[in-house]
Amino acid sequence: MTQANAHTVDERLKAESFGSKLMKRPELGAIAGVVLVVLFFLVTADRSMFTMAGFMNFMTPAAQLGILAIGAALLMIGGEFDLSIGSMVAFAGLFFAVCVVNWGLPLIVAIPATFIFAALVGSINGTIVIRSGLPSFIVTLAFLFILRGLSLVGLKLATGGSTQLRGVREAVQGDWLAPVFSGDAFKGLFEALGRAGLVETFNNGAPKVPGIPVEIVWFIAMAIGATYVLLRTPVGNWIFASGGDANAASNSGVPVKKVKVSLFMLTACCAALVAIITVMDSGSTDARRGFQKEFEAIIAAVIGGCLLTGGYGSAIGAFFGAIIFGMVVIGLTYTDFDQDWFQVFLGGMLLIAVLFNNAIRKRVTGER
């Protein structure tokens, strides 16, 4: 091939339109879903859903799920599953509550300890999957039950027979680190906006929305962080490669085992973060915390464009997937529909997402 014809365009290639380029983005489905759901609730729901207070209302559960979903999405892109995330929330919640209530540790010790503990459980999960070569589905299914059971047993041990451990709020009151993991962020800003008349206020002048719940801030920060890692760092490339074809990746020098074990640790830490936030928020922990969250997180990740076979997906997609979730869970209460339609919706959304993703994958790889 000489330089003369090096720049000639292959005559068999058709120019690609902007539309078909867009079709190849993994998060497209989730964004389209958000638009659809917003349109649906604009028509059916009470006006108050789309006020600032309504927004915070549905974003809070979306954020709690979304933190898990982003971890689950990264792990799915890396080619593995973690069905133990929900149980991990309960288990990490128990560990955290015992740290602050029973042992009286300050948050600066208790929070890192909880993360280290969760990471350890995650690494056990990951190591078993990697060493045994068994599907992560089965291994983490076992941990779904093991961790849920341990949470129950542990709670009884810690409380002397009860399945609820109270007193977290009293224990952490006044701790300087508490505002990072509980309550609302940017309170000053919202007060200032209230005084300036830019947001709705109560009669006494206090803003109706006192601030942004911290989980939403964490959620957004994590979505940005995960997207940056995936698209703009070598580690992101390793995650895609490990999930796309672990054998090919390790033959090319990607440390596949390290990547996968780290991802298991990350999802466990996401569960720990949700546990810390929700336990501090409610002031107690119980064994049902995080129940079935693993499925919801995986569904949000799949709606966000993650392939079940790994190697493809996006954190932004999972972000929007979780928002769809929150909007539907909370949004139905603003409508005249029976709230139990939620589950039907969930299943339907998952099915559509999987069909859609399958079609996308064929487009990307040019499969026929």
């Binding site: 390793w238 020098g253 392939l307 190697g311 990307v364 790889t365």
Partner: protein, 272 residues
């Protein structure tokens, strides 16, 4: 196929070997996959490793590229004794392997595949990030040098043809400074035209002073670019021959163990 091929044949017998494998053995449980194989590659030559299915070719190159550790035997790299603990070690030393599965991920873009495991970065510490602009530029340039015009650096590898994927894998290895390039049956699944493209690529790579190990069971493909030929049979070497010292028929017989093929060939008119 004799001297009338268009390819240049590096005849550099006095040059020291880049890699030398001495009496390599590899056992998997009670199976002896390799029973003492010796092999070496010199810069700028194409050393063909021939053998029928199950002869131990794959096990041998996996040992050379650090995937397996030999059960016995020694590896010398540029004169020094070497023990590769992982494929990464071997790669860093300059041994690049293009496996049959090509180590390509169809869902990922050509750029992401090209730099998989060796991503270019910019910035420091927490801000160390992928140099996406450089990665894209290099990929498009390198592929153009190999005669492939990409739609764009973000084109998924799944949309390339078999020969193009092979070329991406070879271009990648050469770009990352391979001293030894191991090609595992690069022509086995290709059509005539794509095969000659790959053979031409091998010749191009050899001219840059890289030692090429060309694994094949096709004697014609081997004869058209090879400088030396080593035949494996049932985990053993049956000797190394220089180009011109051996005929395609002799190679073919060595590969098959020299038995039934003689009769077969009679009935097929010697075209196997």
């Amino acid at each position: 196929m004799t001297q009338d091929t268009t390819f240049h044949h590096g005849d550099a017998p006095s040059v020291a070997s880049i890699i030398e494998m001495r009496d390599i053995e590899k056992h998997f449980g009670n199976i002896i996959a390799l029973a003492g194989v010796s092999f070496d590659v010199r810069p700028g030559e194409c050393h063909c490793l021939l053998g029928d299915n199950g002869a131990g070719k794959s096990t041998f190159i996996k040992t050379m590229s650090g995937v397996h550790k030999p059960s016995a035997g020694e590896i010398f790299f540029e004169g020094k004794h070497m023990d590769f603990d992982s494929p990464r070690d071997a790669m860093e030393a300059g041994i690049a392997t293009v496996f049959q599965d090509l180590a390509m991920i169809p869902l990922m873009s050509v750029t992401r595949n090209f730099f998989m495991g060796r991503e270019p970065t910019k910035g420091r510490g927490l801000f160390k990030r992928l140099d996406a602009a450089k990665a894209n530029r290099v990929t498009v340039e390198e592929m153009r040098n190999m005669g492939i015009n990409l739609r764009g650096p973000d084109q998924a590898v799944g949309t390339l043809s078999g020969g193009e994927r092979q070329t991406v894998a070879i271009a990648r290895a050469v770009y990352f400074g391979a001293k030894v390039l191991i090609l595992d049956e690069p022509t086995s699944a290709l059509g005539v035209r794509q095969t000659s493209n790959v053979l031409a690529t091998i010749d191009r790579v050899r001219k840059q002073g890289i030692g090429v190990v060309f694994i094949t069971h096709n004697v014609r493909h081997a004869m058209s670019v090879g400088d030396r030929f080593t035949v494996l049979n049932r985990g053993k070497t049956l000797g190394t021959a220089k180009r011109g010292d051996i005929t395609p028929e002799q190679l073919q017989d060595l590969m098959a163990g020299g038995q039934e093929l003689a009769q077969l060939e009679g009935s097929l008119g010697g075209t196997v």
